[in-house]
């Protein structure tokens, strides 16, 4: 995308029928650190890569608990994400207060999408520069949604956003049909695997990632660093065994990434 005369204002259409400011906002999401979400029939798992600005600083918070049954992972401008999380929390609290029951996930994402849409149609505002993976459980089951700065939202079996998310999407594309039958632990393992794909060779440790789970009879919560490290270690042991058994097997996952650039089921 290059600068042109139609991209100054969010309220200016281009001759091709595009709103460039909105598309630039979606670019901001692509630049953020990766976040992935996976769903089975009973659980939803979110995992994010936490980049620290420097060795001296603490890691960015990218996963927020919205209510006992809903949590979000963000990619992009974390400040915008924080503000939206506060809005989502308020909506859940208000709904519970009036109706004495948890806000259904689909209703929450619609409100969030409408809020994002407002910012695409006011000359004195700018679109939110953050994409949200909304994971939640309600009467209708487990759900994973992706909310876009454009005001669009989609439901997914599994999705990844942020930088190098294509690697994670490719990994999940091969396996997503089985996710509905996965156990909670298998889901967590695959989430960490997907995060590992986005790191492209960097070492995966529990200090640079956050994993959160929500499930039937399991309120949304973030997993302890120790538990995450144990899962990572078990992944690594399996990989070392595979490498020892057949040297070629290691090469296969890396090669498949290049072949997957055609439109995949999960691409918008």
């Amino acid at each position: 995308m290059f600068r042109n005369q139609y991209d100054t204002d969010v309220t200016t259409w281009s001759p091709a029928g595009r709103l460039f400011q909105v598309e630039y906002a979606m670019e901001a999401v692509k630049q953020g650190a990766a976040a992935v979400g996976l769903r089975s029939t009973s659980h939803v798992v979110l995992a994010t890569v936490n980049k620290a600005a420097s060795d001296l600083s603490s890691h960015q918070r990218k996963v927020f608990k919205i209510d006992d049954h809903i949590g979000v992972a963000i990619a992009g401008l974390t400040a915008d994400g924080r503000v939206l999380s506060r809005y989502l929390r308020n909506e859940c609290i208000n709904h519970s207060f009036v109706y004495e029951s948890p806000l259904p996930v689909s209703r929450l994402v619609v409100r969030l999408a409408d809020k994002a849409q407002v910012c695409t149609q006011r000359s004195w505002k700018r679109p939110f520069g953050v994409g949200l993976l909304v994971a939640g459980l309600d009467e209708t089951g487990a759900h994973l949604y992706y909310n876009c700065p454009s005001g669009n939202y989609f439901e997914y079996q599994a999705f990844a956003i942020g930088s190098r998310s294509q690697a994670a999407k490719t990994f999940m594309e091969r396996r997503f049909e089985a996710f509905n039958g996965y156990s909670r632990d298998e889901l967590i393992k695959d989430a960490l695997f997907a995060i590992k794909e986005t790191l492209q060779g960097e070492k995966l440790t529990s200090s640079i990632c956050t994993v959160a789970v929500v499930g039937i009879d399991e309120p949304f919560h973030m997993l302890d660093q120790k538990i995450i490290q144990e899962v990572i270690d078990s992944i690594e042991i399996k990989e070392d065994d595979a490498a020892a058994a057949t040297a070629a097997a290691d090469q296969a996952p890396m090669q498949e990434e290049d072949k997957s650039s055609e439109a995949a089921p999960m691409d918008i």
Partner: protein, 221 residues
């Protein structure tokens, strides 16, 4: 039914008591809900757990109590999101006071007692009037049976008198078991003479290991 005077409110009767000990807190309330000379239900809880170590009991108008409990629960949730921890009992005490005074000119018709453990693990009891004036005390009672109960607590708890100045830390030297037995005794006594108190008493004990609940039967007449 002729409704004179407080037509916006109703007094549902009942009594609640709280006692603070060195490392525990006992909160109790009967479970009878009445209007006039009738009993609406024998099985209504006037106690609400607001936080891990903080429990509120109130007598008065139960409709306002339900609304007040929901209000505080929502505010507590917001606090937890912002501070990543539960509210302490003294913090909740201030919040309750502010919430009550917010409706100074159309009050919650509730007479509240807040009980729990403070940040040092010591028992604390806060007692309120309807518009939020509150004080930390060693023990308290509110409701239709309070007048029958407080003199007995004054006599039996062996705490320094709350009326002394300078205000002394008034937690009772009694053990947890003794305090619970005393609460059962005072409720049984109040039930004898107060028509609005009876059916069952719900007793909650908060200590370092958590919250324990007991139900004791009372006279049903």
């Amino acid at each position: 039914m002729a409704i004179r005077g407080n037509w916006m409110y109703e007094n549902n009767g009942g009594t609640c008591v709280a006692i603070a000990g060195a490392d525990y807190c006992v909160i109790a309330a009967d479970t009878r809900l009445s209007v006039g000379y009738s009993i609406y239900t024998r099985d209504y809880s006037k106690i609400c757990k607001l936080a891990d170590k903080c429990v509120m009991a109130s007598s008065g108008f139960q409709g306002d109590l339900k609304a007040l409990q929901k209000n505080l629960a929502a505010k507590h949730l917001i606090y937890q999101h912002q501070h990543n921890k539960q509210m302490s009992c003294p913090a909740m005490a201030q919040l309750l006071s502010n919430t009550l005074y917010y409706k100074r000119f159309f009050p919650y018709y509730t007479f509240n007692i807040l009980g729990g453990l403070d940040s040092d693990g010591k028992g604390c009891v806060f007692t309120y009037d309807a518009v939020g004036s509150y004080e930390r005390v060693g023990y308290s009672a509110h409701g239709t049976g309070a007048g029958l109960i407080i003199p007995v607590l004054d006599n039996q708890l062996k705490s320094p008198s709350p009326l002394l100045l300078p205000a002394k830390d008034a937690v009772t030297p009694l053990s947890e078991m003794e305090a619970v037995d005393l609460v059962k005794d005072v409720f049984a006594s109040a039930t004898e003479r107060d028509i609005y108190t009876g059916d069952k008493v719900e007793i909650l004990v908060i200590n370092a290991s958590g919250i324990r609940q007991e139900l004791m039967e009372l006279r049903k007449d």
